[in-house]
Each structure stands twice: as C-alpha cells, then as structure tokens.
Amino acid sequence: MAWSNEPGHAPGALRQKIVQQNKPSFFPFTQDPGNQRGPQRGRRRRDDGIVNPSRRPMVPRTAKMAEDQDWPSVWPTAATFKPSAVPLPVRMGFPLNRGVQPDKFGNNELRKIPNFLHLTPVAVKRHCKVLKQFCTDWPAALETDEACEEHFPLEVITTDYVLSGPSLRHPDARIVTLKLKLSRLQLDEHARKKILKLVGDRYDKESDILTITADRCPHRRQNYDYTRYLLTVLYLEAWKTEPWEAGITPEDRDEFLWEGSPSEHNILSTMRAIQQADKGGSDTPEEDIVQNSDVQLYKQAVVNQKNHGESSEHVQGYKDSVKRLLGLN
C-alpha cells in the first residue's frame, strides 16, 4: 500500500486508475464526461496541487477486517449496502464505454437492491438456536401432514407485513382465509348439493377444498369471526329443506339422475320385451333387471354421457354397453 500525497481517494483506487488512463487524450475538451463509467459521470476532479494530508478520507474499514472475523456482528440486521463495510469485490451496473461493471464504491445500483448479508447461514443458525427457547415441542402425534389434517381440519391463513416505514399497519393484513375439506363436514346428498350451490366457485372440485375469504371488516379478528359465522350459516342452511324444494323437476337439476328417468323406464321395458321374446314370460322383478350387470353398465354409460358431456370414450362406452345388452357381440 502506498501513501503518496497525490490527489485521490483510497476507496476508489481502481476507478482512479481507469480514469487516469483515459486522461492523455489529444482533444481533452471533446471528451464527454458522460461517456465515462457509471458513477464517475459528470464529476469533476481537481487533479493539480498537493492535497492537504488532513483532508484525506479514512481508509474503508474493510482494510482492517480480519479474515476470520465474526460476520454476523459486522452486519447484524438488514441494512442498505455499505461499500466500506462489505469486504467483497462486488460489481454491479451497466458497463459503459466497453469497460467493466462499476465497482462497489459510490454505486447506487447496489444500494437499491435488497441484500441478504444479514442472513448468512451462520447467522440463521444462531438465530434459530436462541429462538428455540420460545418454541414448544412439536406434538409427536402430528408428524405427518395427513395427521395434521386429520386433527386440525380447519386451516386459517392470515398475512403479516413487516414495513420499514413509520406505520406498522398494512391494509392487507386484515384479510382472513378459511380453508376446509368439504368431506370433513357431515353432509348428506341433499345437504352437499345444496352447500355446493351456496358456495359457488369457492369450492374446488379437484382438491375438495372449500375456501372462504373475508376482507370486509377493518380488523383481522372481525374478519376471522365473520368467516366462522359464514361457515356455520352455510352448514345449517345446507341441512334445511325448504317447502319449495319438493317441486323440483329434472329440468331444475344440475345433473342427470338415473332413478326415475325416461332412460330407466325405456331400458326396463326393453329388457322385459327381450325376456318375453326369449321365454314367453315376464315374471322377473324390476330390481333384478336393474341389478343385472349389463343394465348397470348401460346405466353408467348413460349417466356419464349426460353428466360429463359427449366424448369419444363416452360414446364408445355407450355403444359397447348397448351391444352387450342386446347380445350383439
């Protein structure tokens, strides 16, 4: 390390070198200061005269850091990037003039981005170690996710926001989401259908999860209470049977019902006719015909086609079942 009294700053030694290399130009006035490297742009330097030795800036403290220093003590919390405290040759930014990327000194790009210098593995390990005293043991019965779901069917999701501002509050912190597997509710066929009608798109068929989100109240606690209230009301409403529900017609239903449908009626009469033609008598009870495996297959094919839409498989299934029924294959 050399300490001459020539002007310049210890921190930006490298930058200086580059700038000084640019200096010996034949047309010093045509050299555009904006064409220099990033943080250097537009800054004027007084290169002549001896600099007062007492005006020199301090050597950055990275020069004094030991190799085995305790880094979490140097950078204990989240902080904006400080070039004099980070002993790494970090570079960032757009390289101008076919140069290299600007170094860390006076580099605004490095200050803008969040850094995680306070969350080194060593620091995280230490934090975990001291925070253990605030935690309780995880219950042995809840080792797997399934066990957790089994014991705790209701899932409540809230979000906390940590801000570096004068206010601790965040409007989104009030939102509460309640999740529940619908199969965990005691519902009969009617109640299940009704609750599905009531919740609409809050139910996910794939995962069988009902999601209720509340954000209408200003406080989290109120929203939480409101989700609980909604769930209770939904459940109780689902179990009610209103008088007008008796007048339901097949057209009102969402899905095709085999029982009592014209298809069932038709297949019954067809089967009877076939039996009559075969044996001359039709004393087989209706249940037996329905329980017949071929009829069951046909029923499945019809239901599939009606409820899940026409597709080549469904049509093929329908064709096969009809052929079996008629003994054509």
């Binding site: 390390m1 050399a2 300490w3 001459s4 009294n5 921190p11 001896i50 007062n52 030795p53 007492s54 020199r56 800036p57 301090m58 050597v59 950055p60 403290r61 004094k64 220093q69 305790d70 979490p72 140097v74 400080k82 004099s84 405290a85 620091a123 934090h127 170690k129 001291v130 925070l131 605030f134 935690c135 309780t136 219950p139 042995a140 019965a141 809840l142 089994e150 014991h151 705790f152 069917p153 209701l154 899932e155 409540v156 999701i157 809230t158 906390d160 926001y161 940590v162 801000l163 570096s164 004068p166 206010s167 965040h170 529940l180 509710l185 005691q186 609980r228 769930l231 209770t232 459940y235």
Partner: protein, 682 residues
C-alpha cells in the same frame, strides 16, 4: 395511501390449523365439523397410531424478549464505531474531537427540527406514524381547559408545564377555590424535582425575553477537588428563595409530611443543604415523619454542612439512628449515600466503612457498583500507596451482571481501571474488562469521556506489562472502534513494539496515526522515525518502512511549503528527523533518495548525526559513487562535523576513483567559506 406500502420488506403468511377438539371452537362443533372419529375424546387416536395428541401450552414472554435473545448472537465488531454514527469513511469520527462534533451535530439537528416543529405546529399536523408517536407531534402551548379549576391544573401537570401549573394554582387559590391536597403535593413534587423550571427547556431555544428572564448566573458546580465543571456535566441551578417551589410551600397553611419531604429533597438536590437541614428540624418539631428517600438526600449532603470529619460522621450516625427510631427500613440508596459521605471523612471514614458494609449485609441489601466505587476511593486516597481492596471486590463481583441503581454506578469501571494502573496489575485489569463485557455491564461504563479514560488506562497498562503480540491484539480490538489514543499513548505503543521487536507493525500503526490525524505532531513523527532508525532491521522490513518514510517526508514538505505561518510551524525538519530519514533511505538501498536529502541539511541549517554521515559515506564507497560521496563530504564539512578529516582520509584511502586533490579542494573551499561567513558575522 398506497405509497408507503410498496416498501414492504417482508410478508409473513401464517397458516394456522384449528383443531376440531379445541374448546373455543364451540360454534364449529355445533356446526358439525366431523372427523372420522367421535368427538368426545380429544386425545384419542386412530387404532393404528398409539401416540396421544398432546398440544403444548403456549409460551408467554415479554415484548422485547425475542429482540434481546437475537441481540445476544451479536458481539462487538472491532472495526466499527458507535451505532449512532453513519457507517461511511467520510462520516466516521476519527478523533475524540470529531466524535464530539459528530454526536453534537446529530443532537443539534434533532433539536433544531424539534424547535421548528414546535414553532410551526400548523405544518406538522399530518400523522404518518401508526400507532402515533406522541413525542414526534408538535407540542402545543395552548391548553384545553382555560378557566381556573382542578382539571385545568391536572392538565398542566400531566404535560409538565410547571410555570403554567403554578400560575393556575395561585389563580385557583386567589379566586377562593381549593385544590386537593394530593394535587398540591404533586405540584410541589414536580417543582422541587425540576428546581422550579420547566423540564426540557433549552436556554438557546427560548425567545429573547424569556432568555432575559432566565439569565440568572447559573453557578458552575465544582466538585470535591475544586476543579471546574467538565463540559459534559450539566450546569446545576441553585435553589433560590422566592422560586415557585418556595412560594408554593410558604403559601400552604398546614404543610403535610409529604410536602416537607419534597421540599427537603429539592433543597438537597439544588445545593441548599443548610436550608434542607433547617427544614428537617422544623419538620421534626412539628412531629412529622420523613420518609427514607428524604433521609437519603440528607445523608448525601452531610459534607456540605459539617467541615470536620468526626462531626460529619456524628451527623450521619444521628440520621441513621433517627431512621431506626422511626422504624424506617434503609435501602440501597441510604447506604450508598452514607458511603459517599464517608469518602469525605478521611480516616474516620475508613474505620467506619466496614461497619456500614456489615450492616448492609445484615439487612440483606445487595451493594451496587456505586457502593464499590465509594469503598474503593475510601480505601485508596490518591496520596497513599494503593491497598488491595480491589482484589476482594473483584472476587465478590466477578461474573455478576449489574443494572444501574445509583447515579454513581457508572464511575466504578473507570475508578477500578485507574486502580489497576496504579497497582500495575494487568491480570486484574483483564478480570475487570471481562466483568465489563459480561451481560449488559458495558452500559455502566459511563459517557464517552469516561469510556476513553477507561480504555486509555487499560491500553496503557497492557503496553507496559504485556508482550508485543498480546498488546497488538488488544490494540487492534480497541482502536479506533472505542478508543482514540493520544500522542503519549501511541508513543507507549511504539515503545512496546520496540521492546518485542515488532518493527513490521509500523505500517499499520502509521495508517492509524494518519487516520487519527496525529501525522502532523512533531513529537510523534520524530518518535516514529527514531523507532524505525534506531537499529538495523532485516532488508525486507527496511523496505516495508519505505512508504511510511516517504509519507512522512511528503507531509513535512507540505507543511514547509504551506502559505500560512501557523501551519508552517506545525511540522518541520529537525536534525534528528533528517538524520533518521537519511539512515532509513540508506538502509533500504535508496542511495539516490538519500543523496537528495543532503541539500536539506544546508537549506534548513541542520546538522546530521555523525553515525548517519558515516553510514552514508560508507554506502557511497561501497557503491563507488564518486559524485555522491563528494556531496556527502561537502555537507559534512559545511556543517562542521568534528571528524571531517577522518572522513576525508577514509575516502582517500578507500576510493581510488576520486582524486585526492578534489577532496582537499572540498575541504579547503568549505573551510574558507565558513571562515568568510564567520568574518561577515563578526
């Protein structure tokens, strides 16, 4: 509205699961959350798994516990400075003076902002903080309740507007109203505590007329040894008769015991001890009983009212006996006040100190650091050889954690370190430093001045008693993070380095000297040069010196060329420094630079040391450099060194390149020039 929330640093999502068995989930169980199992048995499990579900109880801790736990993972960083400075090479204080300036600058900025906010409250009505921070809001000078009544008085008291409160009180009383006894006592308490002036009032921030009113000469407090108040000690106002507190007390028809106690404490605090004792006597005559803190204040100010040691001790004993008669239990402050007064009782104090301690143990009161400070100074008056009481104290308090309990608590570490230095016991100093590092004890180290005294003495002791390696380790740890050494301290360090032959550290030390702004101290610069030049080192170490040497030379030249005479006088060439520079250049094999030094001797009329000149000529002979040898001889002759002839003979015999006549010519010429000069001078 949305702007502040874009700076969200972190988003934490909580997914909590609610058990179907939880008690508070009553609404849910009624709504029929059903598992595969019956709901009656909370700890029952499926047949296959036998582990019962036991939910642990929630742990509770106070608000700061997590932060405190996290902060235990962080140790002191020896390269950084105090947290209230900005961590930037330009803004880190490098000297004690800068430390003071920078802290004061920050403080005065805050004060200025506060002043402007209070001056123009209409511009600062917007509240950004949530929850709102009371201290940041502009303080309004108007009150909600204007008409004289108790509520108005209450409002002024809660805002600590003492002047307004006193005015209101007299307004109420003059108007024929009454003020309840509690509120009167509260007002008197506040007035006595703050010495009848509004708390937090800064003289410089007052308007001119207020300042005039306030311009009574605030007596500077002189301490025991009669020295002037230090700059960081607050100026203490004295008690004045006719102040608000006095007025209020005199206006009371029938002062209660509490009123008397407040007045006595106020009098003792504001250095009116005589009056305090008089008031106490009045109180005794009226048959009122004082409380323990009043007795503490009285014991604390005993030395003001009695001059002779025995009389002081007698008075303390009387007060303590009174405590016993009135069956008041003494507390820590009572004993600390007693011990403090015993400091000023000479031998009497030394005799009685142990009795006091015994009584303290008997009552089961744990001494605080202040008690130990007092004991230390009772047993170690500055003019006697040190006693070994500190060893016993250290045995007692080692590994203990202390919190501040007394106003003198923060003097212990400085006093004890001073004792270590007086006893020259570095092991004890290490023990003391260890205690300082235990837990939160560093908080009791005192202000920045006390801290620098503490670390200065510590480092001084290490320099004297320890080897170079150990000393350098401590030096690295303390400088400049907590301690800015002064010139004598650095000279001590140089001495320690020299003793253990660690010359290669001088580059690092010079770097620190530069950053501490000591590079222009003549004494230190010469010390460093002397340190480097005293003995011949290995060639690589000599090379290591070169940047330091060059920098010193540049600095001296800078000051020599400076325009202002005052600056020129800061740092200049001396004979020793020039000789040392010459030697250093020669030893590093820089003959050319060394020869460039020669004209400086003539220019500044300095004389080189004989050894330096001999070494120079020897090197010239070795290098067979005729011109430089002649220049050297010429300087020697010019300065009139005693052994010129010897040098000339040496040159003649060992350097065949030079004509003998040339050497003779130099000798003659210089001698004749010298003779002419002599003549002209005469």
């Amino acid at each position: 509205m949305a702007a502040p929330f874009q700076r969200c640093a972190c988003r934490i999502v909580f997914r909590s699961r609610i058990s179907r068995e939880q008690r508070d989930a009553r609404s849910l169980s009624s709504s029929g959350i059903a598992g595969n199992k019956s709901e009656t048995a909370p700890t029952e499990e499926k047949g296959s798994e036998e582990v019962p579900l036991v939910i642990p109880r929630k742990k509770k801790w106070d608000k700061l516990a997590v932060l405190k736990a996290l902060s235990t993972t962080v140790k002191r960083d020896p390269t950084s400075v105090d947290y209230n400075f900005i961590d930037d090479p330009y803004l880190i204080p490098r000297t004690t003076m800068q430390y003071k300036w920078f802290s004061l600058a920050k403080e005065s900025g805050q004060k200025a902002a506060e002043f402007f906010i209070n001056k123009n409250p209409q511009f600062f009505q917007q509240e950004f903080a949530e929850p709102s921070i009371e201290a940041f809001l502009p303080k309004t000078s108007t009150f909600l309740i204007e008409e004289p009544c108790e509520e108005a008085l209450q409002e002024r008291l809660s805002r600590k507007a003492l002047k307004a409160a006193t005015d209101m009180y007299f307004q109420i009383v003059d108007g024929g109203g009454t003020v309840s006894q509690d509120m009167t006592a509260d007002l008197l308490d506040l007035l006595c505590f703050h010495g009848s002036r509004d708390p937090g009032q800064e003289a410089s921030l007052l308007s001119p007329e207020e300042q005039e009113e306030d311009a009574e000469p605030s007596r500077r407090r002189s301490n025991v040894k009669g020295r002037m108040r230090r700059a960081n000690e607050p100026a203490v106002r004295r008690w004045r008769d006719g102040d608000d507190a006095d007025r209020l007390f005199n206006s009371l028809a029938e002062p209660s015991a509490r009123n008397y106690c407040s007045l006595i404490k106020g009098l003792a605090k504001y250095e009116a001890a005589d009056q305090a004792f008089r008031t106490y006597n009045d109180m005794q005559q009226k048959g009122l009983r004082a409380d323990v803190s009043t007795y503490n204040a009285l014991i604390y100010s005993v030395k003001e009212v009695r001059d002779r040691y025995e009389e002081r001790w007698d008075l303390i004993q009387q007060l303590l006996n009174q405590l016993r008669l009135e069956q008041i239990r003494p507390d820590l402050q009572t004993f600390n006040a007693t011990l403090r007064s015993l400091r000023f009782c000479g031998l009497t104090g030394r005799r009685s100190c142990l009795d006091v301690l015994r009584e303290m143990v008997h009552l089961g009161i744990e001494p605080s650091l202040a008690s130990y400070t007092h004991i230390l100074s009772i047993f170690n008056p500055s003019n006697t050889p040190p006693s070994d009481i500190l060893y016993q104290i250290m045995d007692e308090i080692e590994r203990k954690e202390f919190t501040i309990q007394d106003q003198d608590d923060n003097r212990f570490f400085v006093d004890a370190m001073n004792m270590c230095l007086r006893m020259n016991d570095v092991e004890l100093a290490y023990r003391l430093h260890k205690l300082q590092e235990t837990g939160e004890n560093w908080r009791l180290l005192g202000d920045s001045y006390a801290r620098s005294v503490y670390y200065g003495k510590f480092l001084n002791l290490i320099c004297q008693m320890e080897g170079g390696e150990e000393m350098w380790k401590w030096y690295k740890n303390l400088v400049p993070s907590v301690y800015y050494p002064n010139v004598p301290a650095i000279l001590n360090i140089l001495r320690a380095l020299e003793v253990s032959n660690m010359h290669h550290k001088v580059t690092d030390l010079w770097e620190d000297i530069r950053s501490l702004q000591h590079f222009n101290k003549q004494e230190l610069v010469e010390g460093v040069l002397e340190f480097m030049a005293r003995e011949k080192q290995a060639p690589e170490v000599q090379q290591l010196f070169m940047p330091v040497v060059q920098n010193i030379k540049d600095n001296i030249e800078f000051y020599y060329k400076a325009a202002a005479p005052a600056r020129r006088a800061t740092l200049s060439w001396s004979s020793t420094s020039l000789s040392n520079l010459l030697i250093l250049y020669l030893r590093a094999g820089e003959l050319k630079k060394a020869s460039e030094m020669l004209p400086l001797f003539k220019e500044h009329t300095k004389t080189p040391r004989a050894e330096a000149m001999e070494e120079y000529l020897a090197v010239c002979v070795e290098a067979k450099d005729k011109v430089k040898a002649k220049a050297g001889l010429s300087v020697a002759v010019h300065c009139g060194l005693p052994k010129i002839v010897e040098y000339a003979e040496n040159l003649k015999s060992s350097m065949t390149e030079i004509e003998q006549s040339e050497i003779d010519a130099i000798l003659k010429e210089e001698i004749s020039v010298g003779a002419e000069e002599m003549k002209t001078n005469q």
